[in-house]
């Protein structure tokens, strides 16, 4: 009985020590329409100590934005008889189409590898598990190749100076979504970390969707392929013909 009391007291105490995290996102819907050139997502909020006072100094804020996942095939080129061809492949069940992490200082100074892996904090900690059973060395090679490729395409990023805390209470982070982002449901997760432990987290959703003409074209191409092809052919014939009439003197 005594022991139980002590345990509940401990639980209460630790519970009481959790900070209050009030996060928000600048846009809950990103509209992909003509002229869309990528957009900058502002993640902001307040971090308060349990007593309701400023707590910015005591906690590290890490923000992760993740896009919809999809199954992929990853292929690796190798030189075979002097020619580079796709020689090796592996499949992944679910790979985020977008991943960005922002923090105020290097993630390795904030959490240890194990915690980073549990919460997928940082590009090195992404849980990319191939569905084929391949040896760990090959797995590592493929995963780092994938992360490198996605990083250079602007779809994966890790910025260790992107979170700023003002007045020790308001934090904000800016994450850029390039124009080639996939449409779908994105999650923006904010973590408050203290002494290498995640003490609070909150999640918000961001929808990326096509709108207007671009949605119409994508839908048209997908659902009425024959008519779409016919229209594409008609447009090219008409444009070529009009240009011919326009430029050639009668």
């Amino acid at each position: 009985m005594k022991r139980l009391l002590a345990l509940s007291a401990l639980l209460l105490l630790t519970g009481a020590r959790d900070p209050i995290l009030v996060p928000d996102v600048s846009q809950h819907e990103i509209q992909v329409r003509q002229g869309f050139n990528g957009t900058s997502l502002l993640l902001f909020g307040a971090i308060l100590s349990p007593e309701g006072t400023r707590a910015g100094q005591d906690y590290d804020i890490v923000v992760v934005v993740e896009g919809p996942t999809r199954p992929i095939v990853l292929r690796q080129k190798k030189r075979v008889a002097g020619v580079w061809i796709n020689a090796d492949r592996t499949t992944y069940r679910s790979v985020p189409s977008f991943y960005a992490v922002a923090s105020a200082r290097p993630i390795k100074d904030i959490v240890d590898d194990r915690t980073a892996a549990i919460y997928e904090l940082g590009l090195g900690a992404l849980q990319l598990s191939p569905s084929d059973s391949i040896d760990p060395a090959a797995q590592m090679r493929f995963s780092s190749g994938l992360v490198d490729l996605m990083t250079r395409n602007g779809l994966y990023s890790q910025d260790e100076h992107a979170v700023s805390v003002t007045g020790q209470v308001l934090y904000q982070a800016r994450i850029f979504l390039p124009s080639q982002v996939e449409t779908g449901s994105y999650t923006a997760e904010t973590f408050a970390i203290s002494h290498g432990r995640v003490v609070a987290s909150a999640i918000s959703r961001v929808e990326v969707r096509k709108l207007g003409l671009d949605l119409a074209i994508a839908d048209f191409a997908q659902h009425s392929a024959f008519l779409y092809g016919l229209l594409a052919v008609t447009i090219s014939v008409a444009m070529g013909w009009i240009a011919g009439r326009f430029f050639t003197p009668a």
Binding site: L74, I85, M150, I217, A221, A232, V233, G244
Partner: protein, 308 residues
């Protein structure tokens, strides 16, 4: 000027694409080729996914060749009978091309095959064209006339069964020969997004032995219909035709083609051929570099398609 491409799923600078279309249009006007062989690699180089690039370039070639077909048919420079056989072969070829496309994509070798095709086709045709135009230029300088090339079809063609008379082309050959030629260019069109004019014209001259006055017009006629079929085939199978991209390319290429046609009348044809040969060889060399020296990317991602 940022333009979002709804099928390619990325935003591009519209002016760059229009200029790119203009450049290939200029070539097509000057040389009577579609210019697809330049559009597809340049688009891929710019970051457009290869399949979207090949699918959309085909519709650009349609637009670029149509005014040429009209111009040649007014002068009686199209052999419709021969063209019809070539188109039939070409459409069959796009169907085979679509199957090959699907097969190679599932094997993950589509990019390599496209690159190898580019290097082999462009390399060999560029070399032939360069050698010929240099020979002609040398001959013109020394004053000695080149021995006139006898116009006759390749011995292999004579072995094919069934013979038809093609009046405008001045031929009495088996229709299987142009059918096969059309088939090959149809496959190439589907896989590479090219019209195939630069391989059609030499093949018509040296393999079929067609009369030179109808070669360009008939090849444009074939290209027109085969690229139309290719666009349809891509729309139905790969669903990778990006209309916005195609329209941007068309704006550039249809105007470029007109300017090119006017330029072509001023410059000497031999020099034009040499210039085209150099451009063709440059594209081939760039592709060969990616294939043998170092590819642009070691890793490539493609969506996992579950076997149906």
């Amino acid at each position: 000027m940022d333009v979002y491409l709804p099928i390619a799923n990325l935003s591009v600078n519209g002016l760059v694409i229009v200029l790119l279309g203009g450049l290939t249009g200029l070539l097509s006007g000057m040389f009577g080729v579609g210019g697809g062989f330049l559009t597809t690699p340049l688009l891929i180089f710019y970051g457009v996914p290869p399949t979207v690039a090949a699918a959309s370039a085909a519709s650009q070639v349609t637009g670029a060749s149509i005014s040429g077909v009209f111009a040649h048919s007014r002068r009686g420079g199209v052999d419709y009978q021969m063209g019809g056989v070539l188109v039939a072969g070409g459409i069959l070829g796009t169907g085979i091309g679509a199957l090959l496309f699907r097969l190679l994509s599932s094997l993950g070798q589509i990019d390599t095959v496209i690159d190898i095709l580019y290097v082999v086709l462009l390399g060999s045709i560029g070399t032939i064209m360069a050698r010929e135009s240099i020979q002609t230029m040398r001959a013109a300088r020394s004053g000695a006339a080149l021995p006139a090339r006898k116009r006759r079809h390749h011995p292999l063609v004579a072995h094919l069964p069934l013979r038809w008379r093609f009046y405008r082309s001045g031929l009495y050959i088996s229709p299987l020969a142009p059918l096969l030629l059309g088939l090959v260019t149809g496959i190439a069109t589907m896989l590479m997004g090219i019209g195939g004019g630069f391989m059609m014209v030499p093949a018509m001259l040296y393999i079929l032995g067609m009369s030179a006055s109808v070669v360009v017009g008939t090849s444009l006629f074939q290209i027109l219909f085969v690229t139309m079929a290719t666009t349809m085939m891509h729309a139905l199978t790969t669903k990778a035709v990006d209309m916005v991209l195609a329209v941007l390319l068309l704006i550039g290429s249809v105007s470029g083609a007109q300017i090119g046609a006017q330029l072509a009348q001023k410059a000497s044809p031999v020099r034009l051929r040499l210039l085209l040969a150099v451009i063709v060889l440059l594209v081939a060399a760039r592709m060969a570099m990616g294939l043998t020296y170092r590819p642009d990317e070691i890793f490539t991602v493609s969506p996992l398609c579950r076997p149906v």
